[in-house]
């Protein structure tokens, strides 16, 4: 198993970040939509606590992933029109930005609402700001807009990967997929 990326393929660490975070994001968004309509009660707080814990996990993973990425040589892009290369780069930058903006705006929203923040009942994290209704509304807006943008960008990213695979028949998607069959 190749830990670091090679010119033709993403390394195991990057692939783990990529698919692991996708899995967590795929779980946290439905939880976030579901929890807001729950009747006020301890069950609601528990679901919120889970959402916040996963969100903080994603924030930590985003930081580690960015550090890892900065130290990595990424696989070469297959031949493609220049605008596609630029679009891919812009998409990736935006995805990284959203990986930070969404959990941080959620944290800010929680702080501005005056609520505690705990990571899986283990660690309490400080408030980013004092309770403030105006800031709360602003942070919520950023959180929701960030998620909607993320869904759109991820859809575009996935569509591009599938186009590379099924239309261009290049190795873009395979570079990120676990190798099926004999590992190397």
């Amino acid at each position: 198993m190749q830990v670091r990326s090679t010119p033709s393929r993403w390394g195991a660490v990057t692939r783990l970040f990529h698919w692991g975070m996708l899995l967590l994001i795929g779980a946290i968004i439905p939880v976030g939509i579901y929890m807001t309509d729950l009747p006020l009660g301890p069950a609601k707080l528990r679901v919120y606590a889970l959402h916040k814990s996963i969100g903080l996990t994603l924030l930590g993973l985003a930081a580690l992933r960015l550090l890892w990425r900065l130290g990595e040589r990424r696989p070469a892009l297959p031949p493609m029109p220049a605008w596609q290369g630029r679009a891919a780069a812009a998409t990736h930058v935006l995805l990284y930005v959203l990986m930070f903006v969404i959990p941080l705006s959620g944290w800010l929203y929680n702080s501005a609402a005056g609520f505690p923040l705990q990571w899986f009942h283990l660690v309490n994290l400080p408030a980013l700001a004092a309770a403030d209704p105006g800031l709360k509304a602003l942070a919520k807006e950023a959180h929701v807009t960030g998620v909607v943008t993320l869904i759109a960008i991820v859809a575009l990213h996935a569509a591009a990967a599938l186009k590379h695979h099924f239309v261009d028949h290049d190795g873009t998607l395979q570079a990120m997929l676990p190798r099926i069959g004999a590992g190397s």
Partner: protein, 212 residues
């Protein structure tokens, strides 16, 4: 009332007995200086401490260190005025699971006796929250000054004693049971009795001749 066997059971008889025994006026009255007073508590939610301030309360304070028998601390708070610096939490606190403000808009604290102890005065008080009364010990510090006095106290309560957050909310990992109440009152001598404080009718009628 019936727990103290040394005293008559009926409050009216008790009031008359005190009146007869002490023909001089009762302990001096004090008025709260709201800007320099605070009534609040701290508790924990999801492992984190938060504080709440009670913005709206009335206090009838009659106190003399050398006349504890006629001293009384009587506080009525408007539960709706609790401010925990989180509108979401404040909205939860007024619901039936917590303070049930619609049914129990006020909470009261009334000393039935004040004792002198080596560490200072201790009030035996009936604390009524959400319609449930519990007799608590209320040690406090009274400091007389040139302009009046200050009263400081801290007592620890168990929220479940008053049915606050019973049932599903009883889980301590979400909201701790322990609540620390912190009282700091700045008091000035009151010329006239505080009119807003709810006074039992018997006490009201007996108080009038005592003031002449």
């Amino acid at each position: 009332m019936t727990t103290d066997l040394r005293r008559p059971a009926a409050p009216a008889v008790l009031a008359l007995a005190i009146l007869a025994a002490t023909p001089v006026a009762a302990a001096p009255r004090y008025a709260v200086v709201p800007a320099q007073s605070s009534l609040g508590f701290s508790a924990t939610q999801q492992g984190e401490k938060f504080t709440g301030a009670i913005r709206d309360f009335d206090a009838r304070i009659e106190y003399a260190a050398d006349d504890l028998r006629s001293s009384v601390l009587d506080v009525t708070i408007r539960v709706k005025s609790i401010d925990t610096k989180s509108p979401d939490r404040d909205q939860a606190l007024v619901t039936a699971d917590w303070f049930d403000v619609a049914k129990f808009p006020t909470a009261t604290f009334r000393t039935v006796a004040i004792r002198a102890t080596p560490s200072g005065p201790v009030g035996d008080a009936d604390l009524t929250i959400k319609g449930r009364t519990k007799r608590i010990a209320f040690p406090f510090t009274w400091k007389a000054g040139a302009a009046g006095a200050t009263l400081d106290a801290q007592v620890t309560l168990d929220r479940l004693d008053f049915g606050l957050g019973a049932g599903d909310w009883a889980d301590e990992s979400m909201v701790g049971r322990r609540v620390d109440v912190v009282v700091h009152l700045t008091l000035t001598p009151a010329a006239a009795p505080a009119p807003a404080a709810p006074i039992p009718p018997a006490a009201k009628s007996t108080a009038k001749p005592a003031r002449t």
